[in-house]
Symmetry: C2
Subunit: 432 residues, 2 copies
């Protein structure tokens, strides 16, 4: 009787695993190119850590367990609480700025649907200790570098950028007090996800007052920073200027980093999570067919909440699932080959040891090689070698062996030649 | 208030993470060089999967949980049950031989001690569909390739090899019936872990009969295959010849693969797990100071147990913890550098955008580069660049900038020169 796998979690057979490795490799190379360093936390953390950051209601979305020793634990659903915990633990000893990345496995007990699985991998980039817009721009540009490494470009994806500090200043200026901002963000976060009139109704239900509501709805129509400048000038708003200049600098720095074509100011991006404090962003496919590829922003106050010292911080998370779906939709999934460069085929049982000797020497030289386990069966050996992307097949035995040589076939050119057994490996490694 | 991490699990700060990445990279390259393909399973499996393979008593060593949906799950403590499940699910569709590897995270709820943590990584190599000793030799040689990639050699480690089929035939021949073999293996598995006289007492308590016990103890004194040949000839034992020839072939093939210096026949290696059916092996540091680095063997009947078709199989598991300890004991831990090749320093606030432009272009060329976030502070910038292993520092601004150039310092040679801003990036990438 067969035992099934866990629902909404994936088995990675070699074809799927090569794709996951390729995505993680792109994330990793983009991170290292920008000087970010790898880190990781245990897959299990104390349940308290997640309650501290997100409140008790998070528990329903976690895989939780209690050990025989009475520890209440959860499988990590995200990396930020672990990051805050680890940085708090060594905050004074860690050199600044802190530039960390991970490509981390995590689990959430959610309703499964397209783009939302119960186990997934997430690329996290976090930059701590850099307060200004250069930090925000750096983090956004690395996200785009990772997506470019996956073959995506500015015709296919865009970064939608806003700022929580700008929004707070604007709301304040149009007469919405600070204690109502979270409610406004919660509604604004639904933009594009529900019909426009349902959204309007939700804003009205907030009972912000007639004039503030009218101004809010007008501000929310702005489609560019220039629009926003015109509208706020007409309303004679001013106190948001510092936050606006900061956001403009983020755009300016991203332009310098070569990412201008991706950028879009989007006043609807506020991010649901309470802890953001400055610029926020999400990356989408331009066709808007899928959920966000990536989301992040500045969270300057999180470390205090988690028991550390105040420290400026900005970061993002990018999941593997939506990214894979977008690459598939765009027919940009790579063809990833398996198999070794060299396939060594013993023609007779007595040549198995000789085939293994050649195989061992090739590996010793850092080359990939495998010997077929059984002597003979040339047809099968060539078929497998061709399918696996091998470059060279070496036939060990027969008349050639008696004459002190082996038959070598180059699968790309189709040419065959005999090479002397003496010095064979250096001849082979020089060739392919 | 700070929240602690989970007991006996490790936080990977960048220094520790670089080491883990390096070990996994060595495992991966040895696997790919031999034509093994990557795979992975979910971190959670149904609890039933582990009960099926190991019986109900395994549950005490697992992190288990029940979801709100009523699923009984466990965090994987090893990969073999997942491997058997995944291969069973697609057994007829998978091309043979199946050569799979993984470097997988897993958790066990065990008493913490040196070399035994509650979360660790394990390299698994599994080869299915190859029945003979060429398969066993291949798997053992890849384990050694992985350890060689970590810088270990035959003076520091050895493979201790035995065979469960040989042992079964020997026990049978000296008059110990098949149903007592598991008990004999359980005692034999304690060799070297408890005092010799305590071990003798345990054998006596098995009540195997006077003559069989005497013969068993004599056979167990054999320290080489030659010894074994002499002792069994004197006892006139014969029915173990096929299993012996098979084991001799494993040694012969490993010799061909260049691994002779590591090999040691060790009649005390039986492996505790019930499912082994042929050659078995463990790798140890020669000083025998640590637990086994690696253990594995042939398990031809496991797939049937797990709901699949019968299929020859051989594999091993190698953990990261003991390996790291051995490398540390031998002072062979590598020095792994962080940081980018290029550090770009804006000398004035107005040059930040120019510094970012150079940084972006270097990254676009596939080079690693970072700009310091703040203008000026040359001393700090150089100190950090030196510590992080940077190769080149580029100073953007000052008199040089006004003259259309930048000052470039090579940190290895200590030389400085001015390069024109025009064509700067191609000059820089040509240099370092």
């Amino acid at each position: 009787m067969k035992i099934p796998s866990v629902k909404y979690m994936r088995d990675f057979y070699p074809a799927e695993m090569r794709l996951r490795d390729w995505i993680e490799g792109n994330w990793r190379s983009a991170s290292l190119r920008a000087g970010f360093e790898p880190w990781d936390s245990p897959i299990l953390e104390s349940l308290e850590l997640y309650k501290r950051k997100s409140g008790d209601e998070i528990v329903g979305q976690l895989y939780t367990l209690t050990t025989k020793g009475g520890e209440e634990l959860a499988i990590r659903p995200e990396m930020t609480p672990s990051l805050a915990r680890m940085i708090s633990a060594r905050q004074s000893a860690l050199p600044r700025p802190i530039k960390w990345f991970c490509a981390a496995r995590m689990c959430r007990y959610e309703r499964g649907q397209r783009g939302r699985l119960r186990e997934f991998w997430q690329w996290n980039i976090d930059l701590l200790g850099v307060p200004g817009p250069a930090g925000d721009a750096e983090v956004i540009s690395v996200a785009l570098d990772g997506l470019e490494a996956c073959g995506l470009n500015a015709e296919e994806i865009e970064v939608r950028i806003n700022s929580r500090s700008l929004m707070a200043a604007l709301l304040e200026a149009i007469g919405i007090p600070a204690e109502r901002h979270a409610a406004v963000y919660a509604v604004t976060d639904k933009r594009g996800k529900i019909p426009a009139d349902a959204l309007q109704e939700m804003y009205r239900e907030l009972k912000l007052g007639e004039e503030p509501l009218a101004r809010l709805l007008e501000v929310l129509t702005c489609e560019s920073l220039e629009d926003l400048g015109r509208v706020t000038a007409a309303m004679k708003l001013q106190s948001h200027q510092a936050a606006l200049t900061e956001l403009e600098d983020v755009f300016r720095y991203l332009d310098a980093l070569g990412k201008k074509a991706y950028l879009k100011f989007d006043i609807g991006i506020v991010r649901g999570l309470a802890y953001y404090t400055g610029p926020v962003f999400e990356i989408y496919d331009r066709a808007s067919k899928l959920r966000a590829l990536c989301g992040g922003g500045r969270y300057d106050r999180l470390l205090e909440t988690m028991g550390g010292q105040a420290m400026p911080a900005v970061g993002f998370g990018m999941g593997d699932v939506v990214l894979s779906e977008l690459l598939a939709d765009l027919k940009k999934l790579p063809t990833l080959q398996s198999g070794t460069d060299f396939v060594i085929v013993p023609l007779e049982e007595e040549r198995v040891v000789d085939a293994l000797r050649i195989t061992g020497m090739l590996r010793q030289q850092g080359r990939s090689a495998e010997a077929t386990a059984k002597a003979g069966n040339l047809g099968k050996a060539f078929k497998k070698a061709n399918e696996s992307g091998a470059k060279v097949v070496v036939l060990v035995g027969g008349r050639e062996w008696e004459q002190g040589s082996v038959r070598v076939k180059d699968l790309q050119s189709g040419t065959e030649r005999d090479l002397a057994i003496d010095g064979l490996v250096s001849q082979l490694t020089g060739q392919a």
